[in-house]
């Protein structure tokens, strides 16, 4: 104890405390001054920014058409920032014929040059910010600077470059990403990359197929997934090959993509995928088949109602009752198939959508075989309800007590 006391005395607590008071008080004063000065500066900044924005909007036509040269914007940082913000916002919603004029204005004002320079020479957040802004300009000359950003050692900078290239939304911007990605030379979060590739390859989906052939493993899965979102009937040849791919992820992407092409091309491969050994491939195929119910998908979907996976059955039921005018035919097919699980899935889906009663009424009025159909439906529905449960109120107790098996 004496040791502690003497140690503290040597430490001179009073002096330490006095110093700490001075430091704390100074800190408080600094923070208070910071709040006041910052608020004051922000007020001034917004007043000036609003004035510049008003000037730009007043002279918008002249600035965009080139009649008024925005020379002073080259030297005034805030003015350039305001003009850039307004131009970039307009570019995001610009029509095809308006875009070249806006990009020209960016060039004349010097904004583009400044950003290209920053993207190449700056570091840290300034570089990353410049890369994203360059992408938003949609100027073709921004692509090389953005491609250089992909080589950065810093992952955040690479992400910004990928975002920028995605914003360009042009096939030429996809190439640097695809080359580096398929070679395994570029590591970025895949969500960001998928978004960028999606927007760049939307106009030319077939550009993905060349890289799909050379990519390996999960990189190939990613490309197939992107392809499935952009593919169309004119570019679906590769997709048809992927239907028999050894990778289940790729087959699921193929199923997803086939939902985007015409029924003539898609029906047969989707029927094949609906019998796949992996449940999620079958699920994707069923969802895609839902788009073709009026073009011959009905028998396949009725067959899938007997799938061993409950989610697949549910999804098939969902697809089958999407067209109200086909519900009678659907029910007739399902009852004829004699599959209790399938019929229960359809009834549960009708219940979930609140359509059960109205469909029953419809059948009574329109169908010649209404008694047989409604009887089957009621029996299927009764089997879903626990004994003694009031009709019309399917209980979930059964689901918790008996744990429906997926």
């Amino acid at each position: 104890m004496a040791f502690v006391s003497s140690g503290l005395e040597q430490f001179a607590p009073a002096r330490v405390v006095f110093g700490a008071i001075v430091v704390s008080m100074s800190g408080i004063a600094l923070l208070l001054v910071f709040i006041i000065v910052r608020r004051w500066m922000r007020t001034r900044y917004f007043v000036r920014r609003d004035a510049i924005a008003a000037y730009v909007r007043q002279h918008w036509e002249a600035l965009v058409s080139g009649k008024l040269l925005p020379t002073n914007f080259r030297t005034d940082g805030l003015a350039r920032e305001v003009l850039e913000a307004i131009l970039l916002d307009r570019i995001e919603v610009a029509k095809r014929d308006e875009l070249p004029l806006l990009v020209d204005c960016l060039r004349r004002s010097g904004v583009l040059d400044v950003r290209i320079h920053e993207a190449r020479t700056a570091a840290g957040w300034r570089q990353r910010s410049a890369l994203v802004i360059l992408g938003r300009t949609r100027a073709p000359e921004a692509v090389p600077a953005l491609s250089d950003g992909l080589e950065s050692a810093d992952v955040e900078t690479r992400v910004a470059a990928v975002r920028g290239l995605g914003k360009i939304a042009d096939p030429a911007a996809a190439l640097p990403m695809l080359e580096r990605f398929t070679d395994g030379r570029m590591e970025v979060p895949w969500g960001v990359l998928k978004n960028a590739l999606l927007s760049c390859s939307a106009r030319q989906p077939e550009m993905l197929t060349r890289y799909l052939r050379t990519a390996q493993g999960t990189r190939r899965d990613l490309l197939a997934r992107v392809l499935s979102e952009v593919v169309d009937s004119a570019s679906c040849d590769e997709l048809l090959i992927l239907v028999s791919d050894p990778s289940a992820e790729i087959r699921a992407s193929a199923a997803r993509g086939l939902g985007r092409v015409t029924a003539e091309i898609a029906l047969s491969p989707l029927a094949q995928l609906a019998s796949d050994k992996e449940w999620f491939v079958r699920l994707r195929a069923v969802v895609a088949l839902g788009s073709f119910i009026e073009h011959g998908a009905l028998p396949v979907l009725v067959r899938v109602l007997g799938d061993r996976n409950r989610l697949v059955r549910q999804r098939a039921a969902w697809a089958l009752i999407r067209s109200p005018h086909l519900v009678q035919d659907v029910l007739r097919e399902v009852v004829a198939a004699g599959d209790d699980y399938g019929l229960q899935a359809v009834v549960a889906e009708l219940d979930r959508c609140g359509l059960y009663r109205s469909v029953l009424e419809q059948l009574k009025h329109l169908a010649a075989d209404s008694d047989q159909l409604t009887g089957s439906l009621d029996r299927a529905r009764a089997s879903l309800l626990p004994p003694g449960h009031p009709e019309g109120e399917p209980a979930a107790e059964r689901t918790t007590k008996e744990a429906w098996v997926a």
Partner: protein
Amino acid sequence: MIPLLNLSNSVLFVYYLISNLFYFVLLITAFVSAARHRQRLSSLRLETLDDSPFTPPISILVPAHDEASNITENVTALLSLDYPALQIIVINDGSEDETLEVLKSEFALRATSVLYVPQIASAPVRALYTSALDDRLLVLDKAAGGTKADAANAGLNAATSPYVAVIDADSVLQKDALVRIGAEIFSAAVEVIAVGGIVRVLNGSMVSGGQIREIRLPKRPIEVLQVIEYLRAFLIGREAWSALNMLPIISGAFGVFSRERMMRVGGFRTNAIGEDIDLVVRMHRSLLQEHKRYRMPFVPEPTCWTQVPQTLRALGHQRARWQKGLLDVLWGSRDMLFRPRYGRFGCVMLPYLWVFELAAPVVEIVGLSSIILAAVLGVLSKTFLIQFAVYGYAFAMLISIGAVVQEEITVRRYHRWTDVGRLLLYCLAEHFPYRQINMWWRLRGMWQYLRGNVAWEKSERSAFATTTK
């Protein structure tokens, strides 16, 4: 007696210096981290998530027990969130008021037989309902489980998304909160297991159509003091710990978690007093045991507005419960302390929580009593006593004002000079006598826990202040 007093004073002095050093480091780390985050935002374009087919779906779980007064506003707000792939699951946890009836009438609920597999145990689910107005809404009616954790577990079973957000039914999420959280998950280079947003005080603000229309500081001093506490806890504490990837808690009022990881750790522990901190610590444990690389970031922009206690009594109960929860979790995870296997979480975070969070009420109350006694007995120089008190007061104020500055720099919700002025003024009042009362509540919480009183206490709820603006 006197040597004992001397020792006690010395311990308090050293404890105070070290804890203040910690807080100062946290303050600086938070400032740096927030600045970096703002710079990062400049290269982040949120709108890519809105129309992307790759955006990860999120299920929002809303445990509701006797929430009839707020539930409509809350669910309406959730349905209007800016997020493209959303599922909202309200879990009516055996409410004795009109919660379920209000939901049925407001959202045209109908009973349904959708798939529900009770992978994680909870009190029995009586019925499931979907909405005829919006098919993203699912309502689970279950027997009362006695805890929010039990209700959240039932919701977790019903959730179908890879990420789940758990929010309180008396809270309002800002429209872009999930997009901002989603952006963090979407663009992370390392797997994101959980993300915490900021929880802010709703009291005093105006709500209409489930959205905040006007942000105001509350009128009651007790509520304003909580505003400062929340700012300090989130914008200094969590910001700093998140920067060091040691976030110990993601608030139960608003957090997004990987469903797969939640299922792997068995969901919420139903007998946990602080189910949020308990879950996060168990997640850290499981990930560190598996040697996974992961992140659990805090993001300051996604905001959840929540009602805080309006009376001293209710606040006292809440703080006692939080302290009980902390003790419960720390005791349960004592085997992680100083084990290299648990990395910096076991070697820095947990010891910090033991020494500077859990022990704080004991040290402060015992220390203050001994200092006063020593001064009365003439053992301690009165000048030193005054200097020490001034230092403690000034330093605590520095941290609180630092939190207000962080608010100014990051999200800046209080635009009026009067609001900022009031906040700064209350920073003065926060450390005497509120801090001492708070310590007393926390001490009481520890005492209750040690005596085995771990019962869940129902909190008071009031309807949101609404406006026609």
